[in-house]
C-alpha cells in the first residue's frame, strides 16, 4: 500500500491528537499506511526536520505537516518535494504559502480578530476603559501565538506595534502579557499573577481553551468569575461546553478533522494519478474556515451558538 506521513507540532495538544485521529480514519478508509510524527515540545522545528527526512528515507508518497516554524521548514519541504513527495500544510500556512503543494488551514489572525471584535461589541462603551489580560502561548512567540494575539488586539481596536510580535503595544488598557504553555496550569498561574498586578481586570484573551479554563479557575478563586469576560480560540468539545456553561464568552472554532481528511484525500489522489489539489477560489490556500461560537451573539458579527458548535466540535 502507499504510505503517507503526518507531522504535527506536538502530539500532546488535543487539537493535534484529533487531527491525527481524523487523518488515520481517512487513511484507513482509503487504504493508505499512515505514519505519524510530532515535535517533542511546541516549537520543535528540528524534530520536524528529522521527521521529514525519515519520511523521505522511508519512501512515503506525501506529507501532511503543521509547521512549527513556518519560514524555516521551507528548505526541508523543498527537499521532500524534490524527492517526489506531495507536501500539504495543515492548520498553519507556510511562509511563503506556495512552498507547499497545498494548504488546508485556519486563518489564525482572522480567528483572533473575530473574538476581538466580539469582545469590543460586548463591552460596548466600557471597551474604552477595559482592563485586558493577555494570556499567550510561550516566550518564543511562535507564529500562531503572534497571529491570534495581534488579531485579537486589532479586532478590539488597539493599535499594534510590530505585528510580527506581541508585547510591544503601548495601549494602557493592556494590563500585561503572560505565557501559559497553552494548558490549564499555565493559564491559572498567569491569571493569578496578572490579578495580583491589577485586580480590576475585566477582559481576558486566551491563546486556547485549556488556558481559558485555567484563567477561569483563578477568577473563581477571587470570586470574579461572573464579571470578567473570557475569550478564546479552538472550538474543541470541552471548550464549546465551557461556552455553554458560561466559562468562556466566545471562542473561534476551527476544523482540524476536515483539514486532515482533505489532506489524506489529496495524497491518495496524487498517489493514484499525480493530480494536485487546487486552492480555494481567490485565495492562495484552502481556508477550512473559522466560526465564532457564542451564546451571546452581537450585531454585525456572524456566529453560531454553543449547541451548533457542539455538533461541529472536534473532540
Amino acid at each position: 500500500a502507499d504510505s503517507a506521513c503526518i507531522i504535527t507540532k506536538t502530539d500532546t495538544n488535543p487539537f493535534f491528537v484529533k487531527m491525527k485521529e481524523g487523518a488515520t480514519a481517512k487513511a484507513q478508509e482509503l487504504g493508505i499506511t499512515l505514519k505519524s510524527y510530532a515535535g517533542k515540545i511546541d516549537g520543535d522545528h528540528e524534530g520536524q526536520v528529522a521527521a521529514v527526512e525519515a519520511c523521505i528515507a522511508d519512501g512515503a508518497k506525501g506529507i501532511l505537516i503543521t509547521a512549527s516554524d513556518t519560514k524555516a521548514i521551507v528548505d526541508s519541504v523543498k527537499s521532500a518535494r524534490d524527492a517526489g513527495l506531495l507536501v500539504i500544510a495543515l492548520d498553519t500556512p507556510l511562509d511563503p504559502v506556495d512552498a507547499a503543494d497545498a494548504t488546508f488551514a485556519t486563518d489564525n489572525f482572522k480567528a483572533g480578530e473575530l473574538i476581538g471584535q466580539w469582545a469590543k461589541a460586548t463591552l460596548g462603551d466600557a471597551a474604552a476603559e477595559a482592563k485586558i489580560a493577555m494570556l499567550d502561548l510561550g516566550i518564543s512567540q511562535p507564529s500562531v501565538d503572534v497571529l491570534r494575539d495581534q488579531g485579537f488586539l486589532q479586532g478590539f481596536g488597539i493599535e499594534l506595534g510590530d505585528p510580527e510580535k506581541w508585547g510591544d503595544e503601548t495601549d494602557p488598557r493592556i494590563v500585561g502579557h503572560e505565557v501559559t504553555s497553552g494548558n490549564e496550569e499555565g493559564g491559572l498561574t498567569a491569571m493569578e499573577s496578572l490579578l495580583a498586578k491589577d485586580p480590576g481586570i475585566n477582559l481576558v484573551y486566551t491563546i486556547n481553551e485549556p488556558a481559558a479554563a485555567g484563567a477561569y479557575e483563578a477568577l473563581k478563586a477571587v470570586g470574579r468569575e461572573k464579571d470578567v469576560l473570557i475569550v478564546s480560540i479552538d472550538g474543541g468539545c470541552p471548550g464549546v461546553q465551557n461556552v455553554k456553561d458560561g466559562v468562556i464568552g466566545a471562542t473561534a472554532q476551527q476544523y482540524p478533522l476536515e483539514m486532515a481528511a482533505k489532506g489524506i484525500e489529496a495524497i491518495a489522489a496524487f498517489a493514484k494519478d499525480g493530480t494536485k489539489p487546487a486552492p480555494t477560489e481567490g485565495k492562495d490556500f484552502t481556508d477550512t474556515g473559522v466560526t465564532l461560537v457564542t451564546d451571546k451573539p452581537v450585531e454585525g458579527i456572524e456566529s453560531i451558538d454553543s449547541a451548533k458548535g457542539a455538533e461541529l466540535c472536534w473532540g
Binding site: 490549564e184 496550569e185 456553561d245 466559562v247
Partner: protein
C-alpha cells in the same frame, strides 16, 4: 612477649602520668562570632536571609506586593513545587537526582481522575490507587538505581519519558473539566479548599506543604532512618561497610519520593480544578524542584543540606516570579531576570558562607 619487642618500645615509659583531660580553649564570644557560627551550623539560614531581602526589595518596588493576597498567592503557587521539592530533596540527599518527579505527579493526577470518571471508581478509592501507583513508579526508579546500579540521572531521564508518554497514551490527551469534578468527585479537589481568616484565602494545599516539610525535617534529623539517608548520600561504600542497608534505603527514598509526587498530583487537581495530562509540571516540575533544592543549599553531591532550606528555596523562586510580574516586567525579561536571580541567590549564599568561614 619477646624481649627485643619490649626493648623496642621502652620509650613508652614516658607515657606514665600522661594528661587525661579533654582539651579545651577559651572561646571568643563576640556577637559576630556567634552569628557566624550560627550561619555555619544552620544550612537553611542563608536562603532565609536571601528570601527576606527579596521580600523587602519587591515590597519597595511594587506598592501592591506587600498585600496579604499577594503573599498568599505566592504560597499557593509554590505548593506543588514545594511538595515535589520534598521528594527531590530526599533523592538528592542520597546523591541522586529525580528527573521524573513532575511526570509522576501528572500521571498520578490523571490516574486518579480517569479511575473516577472512566471506570466509575469512588473518588477516595481512586485517590488511594493513584497514590499507590505513584509510589510504585518511585519504587521502580529506586529498584533500578539500587539493584541494577544504574546512575539516577539516567534512570529518571528514562522513566521521565516513559511515564510522560504513558500518561498521554493512557489519557488519550483528554482533559477532565473542573465543573464535572466539582459535581461528581469533589474529593479530588480537596486540597483546593481554603480557609479565609480576615478575608485572605489560604489553600489547604499550603498547610499540607508546610506539614510535609515539617514531618520530613523531623524524620531526617531525629530518626535513624534519616541519618542513614544522609550517610548513603555522603559515601555509599562507607555507609554499606558501616552497616547501613544502602540498597533498601535507596529504594525507600525513591518510593517515598514517588508517594510525595502522587500527593502533589492530587494537590494539582485541587489547585487547577481540572485534570490535564499536558500540565506543564510534567515537563518543568523536575527543573523547578531541583532549582528550589539547590537554592535552598542542599548539595547536589548528596549528604549535606536541609529540607527547610528547600522550602525557602521554593519561596525565593516564587517571590522572584511574582515580584517581577508585579513590577511589570515583560515575560521575556522576566525569564531573563529569573535566570540572573537564580545565580545571584546562590552567589550570595556562597559569599556569606565564605565571609563566615
Amino acid at each position: 612477649m619477646s624481649s627485643d619487642a619490649k626493648a623496642a618500645v621502652s620509650y613508652e615509659e614516658g607515657l606514665k602520668g600522661a594528661s587525661e583531660k579533654v582539651a579545651e580553649f577559651q572561646e571568643h564570644k563576640s556577637a559576630l562570632k556567634r552569628l557566624q557560627h550560627w550561619l555555619h551550623m544552620t544550612p537553611s539560614a542563608v536562603p532565609m536571609i536571601v528570601l527576606v531581602v527579596a521580600l523587602i526589595v519587591f515590597g519597595l518596588l511594587s506598592p501592591n506586593f506587600f498585600k496579604a493576597v499577594t503573599l498568599s498567592t505566592i504560597l499557593q503557587q509554590i505548593a506543588i513545587v514545594g511538595i515535589l521539592g520534598c521528594a527531590q530533596s530526599l533523592v538528592i540527599l542520597t546523591a541522586g537526582i529525580d528527573l521524573s518527579v513532575g511526570a509522576i505527579a501528572v500521571f498520578s493526577s490523571v490516574l486518579m481522575g480517569q479511575f473516577t470518571f472512566r471506570y466509575g471508581i469512588p473518588a477516595p478509592l481512586a485517590i488511594a490507587a493513584g497514590l499507590a501507583l505513584g509510589t510504585a513508579m518511585g519504587f521502580a526508579n529506586g529498584w533500578l538505581v539500587a539493584k541494577v546500579k544504574l546512575p539516577p540521572f539516567i534512570v529518571t531521564l528514562g522513566t521521565w519519558q516513559i511515564i510522560l508518554a504513558a500518561n498521554y497514551i493512557y489519557s488519550a490527551n483528554e482533559t477532565i473539566r473542573s465543573s464535572e469534578i466539582a459535581a461528581t468527585a469533589p474529593a479530588l479537589q480537596f486540597w483546593g479548599n481554603s480557609i479565609q481568616p480576615g478575608g485572605v484565602k489560604v489553600l489547604y494545599a499550603v498547610f499540607l506543604m508546610v506539614a510535609l516539610v515539617a514531618i520530613l525535617a523531623y524524620v531526617l534529623r531525629h530518626t535513624a532512618w534519616g541519618r542513614h539517608v544522609y550517610a548513603v548520600g555522603d559515601d555509599p561504600d562507607a555507609a554499606e561497610l558501616a552497616g547501613v542497608r544502602t540498597k533498601r534505603i535507596l529504594i525507600q527514598v525513591y518510593a517515598l519520593g514517588g508517594l510525595f509526587c502522587a500527593i502533589a498530583g492530587w494537590v494539582m487537581i485541587g489547585r487547577f480544578g481540572s485534570v490535564s495530562p499536558s500540565a506543564s509540571t510534567g515537563q518543568l516540575g523536575n527543573i523547578q524542584s531541583i532549582t528550589a533544592v539547590v537554592i535552598g543549599g542542599i548539595s547536589l553531591f548528596g549528604g549535606r543540606g536541609s529540607i527547610v532550606g528547600m522550602f525557602f528555596g521554593a519561596l525565593i523562586v516564587g517571590v522572584f516570579e511574582m515580584g517581577l510580574k508585579m513590577v511589570g516586567t515583560d515575560p521575556q525579561w522576566t525569564f531573563f531576570l529569573i535566570g540572573m536571580l537564580i545565580i545571584l541567590a546562590v552567589a550570595v549564599d556562597q559569599w556569606i558562607r565564605k565571609a563566615s568561614a
